[in-house]
């Protein structure tokens, strides 16, 4: 009886809160690395995605096919595999190790992760934006045509601003997926948020303290991101909401419809 209780306590001992508190500064530094990698990857990936999405939405088969192949490859393989191929794979080639890219970039785990993450999110964002571009309302495009806009003007002034707005809710998912996907960095020696959690577990032979601390910090980051996007949507998508801002009580039927 007493033995069973001792065993229970040893097997399911509570969190070692002291160790977490002592190392909390490391967790904050890890969170910074995670945010930095995710943020930069989203910026680079987003910048790549705009021209690629325009190509994908267009009808030129010579441009369309390679972009399709790119997005298909990066959406069709796991991020972990892509990161391993860039980090462990490229390093196996003598030619890569002797190239000028090796020292400053490809030998560094941080850059390998950034490259993999950027290409991955670029592929997803391209397809997301392509969908938004091709579903632009005919009326808006026809109006622009009637005003004598050139193709470039139509894209820049009418189609893209409208597509960005409509893609926003789906893009917030991509941002959160990228944040979660960035844990892959910890498998190639980077001390990101999960990396610090694994370090703590490894240093003190713990089972879950590091993971739980990391998980809580991820939750907080996601909360901030989703709040930010909701605010952004309320500004950018205001014209798409039902026009009943004055009413305080929603009526039954169509008027109460909200998304």
């Amino acid at each position: 009886m007493g033995e069973a209780i001792i065993q229970f306590l040893e097997t399911w001992s509570p969190l070692d809160v002291v160790l977490i508190a002592q190392n909390f500064d490391r967790f904050l530094l890890g969170a910074l690395v995670t945010l930095q990698l995710t943020g930069l990857a989203l910026l680079i990936g987003g910048a790549l995605a705009v021209p690629l999405a325009i190509i994908r939405a267009g009808k030129n088969p010579y441009l369309n096919a390679p972009v399709w192949a790119f997005t298909y490859t990066f959406r069709g393989t796991p991020l972990l595999v892509q990161t391993y191929l860039i980090y462990y794979g490229l390093g196996q080639f003598e030619a890569v190790r002797e190239s000028f890219l090796w020292g400053p970039i490809l030998s560094q785990a941080w850059w390998c992760a950034l490259i993999a993450f950027s290409l991955n999110t670029a592929a997803y964002t391209t397809e997301l934006l392509r969908g938004a571009i091709v579903t632009t309302s005919r009326g808006e495009v026809e109006a622009a045509l009637a005003c004598g806009f050139s193709a470039a003007q139509r894209m820049r002034r009418i189609v893209l601003p409208s597509a960005f707005r409509r893609a926003l809710p789906a893009y917030s998912n991509e941002v959160i997926f990228m944040l979660h996907g960035s844990v892959v960095a910890s498998t190639i020696t980077i001390q990101d948020l999960l990396g610090v959690g694994r370090w703590l577990n490894g240093r003190y032979y713990l089972a879950y303290e590091g993971f739980i601390t990391a998980a809580v910090l991820y939750l907080i980051i996601v909360l901030i991101i989703s709040r930010g996007f909701r605010w952004w949507e309320s500004r950018w998508l205001r014209h798409l909401y039902p026009q009943n801002a004055v009413e305080t009580k929603p009526k039954k039927g169509l008027a109460s419809f909200r998304f």
Binding site: Q7, F8, E10, T11, G91, R198, R203, A207
Partner: protein, 257 residues
């Protein structure tokens, strides 16, 4: 109150049930499989190595039917506590920190730790010399404890497996590897990838971090199993089975003094 009572009874029932069934079942041994020459995986998936053969010999000596369970290194102790297996035979050093969570058998081998770097590297094994140097090692090992205690100014690069450390050492991503000397010798220096690399500095040992050698870890409640292992280790030594396995892998007795 009532709910609490029900939950306690339920918890105890599960615990006792688990104990009863564990005795009848096979003995499950946790092994790693990515730490040559102590354990590695052949391309057909079979496990090989010193730890694996020792585990099998111990089971034969104890007259138990054993099942080997593979587990990543950094989850080794948690998985033992979660009863995914009943003992760890994976070159785990007996240290004070680990003894807080598990119990150990007597040691079954003891080899020193060493640094490995490229031949002709100017690496100095001193606090000053290692400052800012990138030292690769496996996460959750005694070597992580040692480096953080003795050389806090070195930049530690942590990997999930020892094989990954060697891979990055070979292509120059890290300045040195710090690990068990046998693991470095057989797993790296004697292979093609390890050409042009060698040991730097002497044997590194810190009792608090490195402990007294590698032992077999069991849950604290399984003291009978621990005693069984102790007897079996002694028997393997006495009967010469240990020496036979040892000779397959090493040219000296790694049991240590």
């Amino acid at each position: 109150m009532k709910l609490k009572k029900i939950l306690t009874t339920l918890g105890l029932a599960i615990l006792l049930g688990g104990m009863a069934s564990a005795q009848a079942a096979d003995l499950r041994i946790g092994v790693e499989g990515a730490y040559p020459p102590f354990s590695w995986k052949e391309s057909d998936g079979t496990l090989k190595g010193f730890d694996i053969e020792i585990a099998e010999a111990l089971c034969a000596e104890m007259g138990r039917n054993c099942v080997l369970v593979e587990q990543d290194w950094d989850g080794m102790i948690p998985a033992l506590l979660a009863k995914k297996y009943d003992a760890i035979v994976a070159s785990m050093s007996i240290t004070e920190e680990r003894k807080k969570r598990v119990n150990f058998s007597d040691k079954y081998y003891n080899t020193p730790a060493k640094f490995v770097a490229k031949n002709g590297s100017d690496l100095q094994i001193t606090k000053e010399g290692l400052k800012g140097k990138r030292i690769g090692l496996q996460r959750g090992t005694t070597h992580q404890c040692f480096m953080e205690k003795m050389f806090p100014d070195a930049e530690l690069v942590l990997y999930a497996t020892q094989e990954e450390v060697f891979q990055d050492l070979a292509i120059g991503r890290i300045d040195a590897n710090f690990s068990d000397s046998i693991a470095a010798d057989d797993g790296f220096l004697k292979t093609d990838a390890g050409k042009g690399f060698g040991f730097v500095g002497g044997d590194m040992h810190d009792m608090e971090c490195h402990g007294e050698g590698a032992g077999i870890a069991v849950r604290k409640s399984d003291d009978e199993l621990r005693m069984e292992f102790n007897k079996a280790i002694q028997a393997l030594r006495d009967k010469g089975v240990y020496q036979k396995i040892n000779a397959k892998y090493f040219d000296f007795d790694i049991f240590g003094g």
